[in-house]
């Protein structure tokens, strides 16, 4: 069974992920957050390169199912150019709605949300986010 039902957007982001990888050490303005584990079925790391409260670029690393990798890519694309306050309002529900994620994968999407939250918390701790 090679091709269960995956939305076209999942196929696109899985095959050509946006923001895959991580920033070189020493790049200024980079914050990051991680969540998940192999046992949970998804492990993900988000990095955002900031200019003040603005996200210039987001990158991710992910181990998991196609929905998870596509979700991380979708988020990375969405985050670019966004303010930190606006980014903090993104929820897993938005990701799952955009990618038509089936109910049995919603746990993975919540891990994505946690990783983004950890990334933003890192920004807050480093005083990029003042709210």
């Amino acid at each position: 069974m090679n091709a269960p039902a995956y939305a076209q957007l999942v196929r696109q982001h899985f095959s050509r992920p946006v923001g895959a990888g991580c920033f070189e050490p020493g790049v200024p303005g980079v914050v990051q957050g991680c969540a998940g584990s192999r046992e949970q079925g998804l492990a993900v790391q988000f990095q955002c390169r900031l200019d003040g409260e603005k996200i210039l670029e987001a990158r991710f690393l992910a181990w998991g199912c196609p929905h998870s990798i596509a979700g991380a890519s979708w988020l990375a694309e969405r985050l670019a150019g966004m303010g930190l306050v606006e980014a903090a309002r993104i929820t897993g529900n938005e990701v799952s709605a955009a990618l038509d994620v089936p109910a049995d994968k919603l746990g993975s999407i919540l891990i994505l949300e946690d990783a983004l939250g950890a990334c933003l918390e890192n920004a807050r701790q480093r005083h990029y986010l003042t709210e």
């Binding site: 090679n2 196929r11 192999r38 181990w63 998991g64 990798i69």
Partner: protein, 394 residues
């Protein structure tokens, strides 16, 4: 991953799931369907019925011929699953006065596990062996499980997921010496490995046609007459197939199965030699990727099956990235679920290793070019997915 619309031709490496029907088999089946063919009911005594009956009995001879059996020992069923049910429930219930202890292995196909579970619910005591000898049940392990009230042992010839081969002759000899009936699910081995039901001391053996280029929906159960193996039917009706499997015989399916078995007998040795060589090429190519493990030692497995775990990648993503290649994953495919394979778990793999496994099963149309393409695609996908993974899960 490429869009499926852009895929020129699917490379099919899932022959253990099913095979295409041989063109000669299709031809003989069609001859049994139309108004000018042998379409009549084989149980009818008029001339068209007799012609259909001749087709059926010819097929019975062809199937028996592959096994070293007599034609009267072949009972046609709807497939190996029904044959397994008939053997396990039929023999288990027939011998209930002798004992209620029956034995099988945790790595059997669901078609065996579930009839055992049904008997367990009805008061039978089941010993569920965990294969200890390189993923197989050894004669010593079985010996230790046998009891005076044991009446039935069921173990598969070739495991459908790993390809591991049981030493059926040794297990059969042990069962026969203890007066215990021995049933073997041979869905994956018929036409691929030599079978001699007499030498292997088998009492019942299940088969399906669609694993060896015959049609789906037809199978058979070998039931030994010497020594005599008795069993109850699991369904009742018109008395066909010695009363063990009532219902109008599907002449076209049966004729197709017969020819498929005869064709397999003629080419088995050459096919398996070729597939063995191709599997070696595949395994060598996969090993070059690094971080791959064969699930089941190849020296103990059938030459057409290779089950491999890929470290550092999630199985679903690996499978999804292989558009254009048809293989099976280490998840339970029957239900469409993503649960890790219980067969691989029984070999000691953890959930992640089981879920990151693929089963490659090669067949008559598999070419060296196919193998090269598959290795190349897999290599690219595994490297891509590993590069995407955070360091702490690699």
């Amino acid at each position: 991953m490429t869009d499926s619309s852009a895929t020129a031709k699917t490379i099919y490496l899932d022959y253990a799931a099913t095979t295409p029907v041989d063109s000669a088999v299709v031809k003989v089946m069609v001859e049994c369907l139309g108004e000018d063919g042998d379409f009549a009911n084989p149980s009818s005594v008029h001339a068209p019925g007799v012609a259909a009956r001749v087709r059926v009995e010819n097929a019975r001879e062809q199937v028996a011929g592959l096994l070293g059996a007599r034609s009267g020992e072949i009972i046609f069923t709807s497939g190996a699953t029904e044959a397994d049910n008939l053997a396990i429930r039929g023999a288990g219930l027939f011998q209930v006065h002798k004992g209620r202890h029956i034995i099988t292995s945790k790595s059997e196909h669901r078609a065996v596990l579930d009839p055992f579970k049904s008997l367990e619910k009805e008061g039978f005591e089941v010993t569920w062996l965990v294969p200890e000898d390189h993923g197989r049940v050894s004669a010593e392990q079985l010996q230790a499980a046998l009891r005076p009230d044991t009446t039935l042992v069921s173990l598969m010839h070739v495991n459908n997921e790993t390809g591991l081969v049981h030493d059926i002759a040794a297990l059969g000899q042990l069962c026969r010496s203890h007066g215990v009936l021995f049933h073997v699910d041979a869905a994956q081995s018929a036409g691929k490995l030599p079978i001699d039901v007499r030498a292997m001391q088998i009492d019942m053996m299940s088969f399906s046609a669609h694993k060896i280029y015959g049609p789906k929906g037809i199978g058979a159960l070998f039931v030994s007459r010497e020594p005599r193996c008795n069993l109850y039917p699991v369904s009742y009706g018109g008395g066909q197939e010695q009363g063990l499997r009532p219902g109008t015989l599907a002449t076209h399916q049966i004729a197709g199965m017969g020819l498929a078995f005869e064709l397999a007998a003629g080419r088995m040795q050459a096919d398996q030699q070729r597939l063995h060589e191709l599997r070696e090429v595949l395994w060598s190519g996969l090993q070059a990727i690094g971080g791959v493990t064969a699930n089941g030692e190849l020296e103990y497995s059938a030459p057409n099956i290779l089950n491999v775990s890929f470290q550092g990648v999630a199985g679903e993503s690996l499978l999804f990235g292989l558009d254009g290649i048809a293989v099976s994953s280490g998840s339970a495919c029957a239900s469409g679920s993503r649960e890790p394979s219980y067969v691989l778990r029984s070999l000691g793999l953890d959930d992640q290793a089981a879920q990151s496994s693929l089963r490659f099963s090669l067949g008559r149309s598999t070419s060296r070019d196919d193998i090269d393409v598959v290795v190349s695609m897999l290599s690219a996908q595994v490297r891509r997915l590993r590069a995407l993974a955070p360091d702490w899960v690699k």
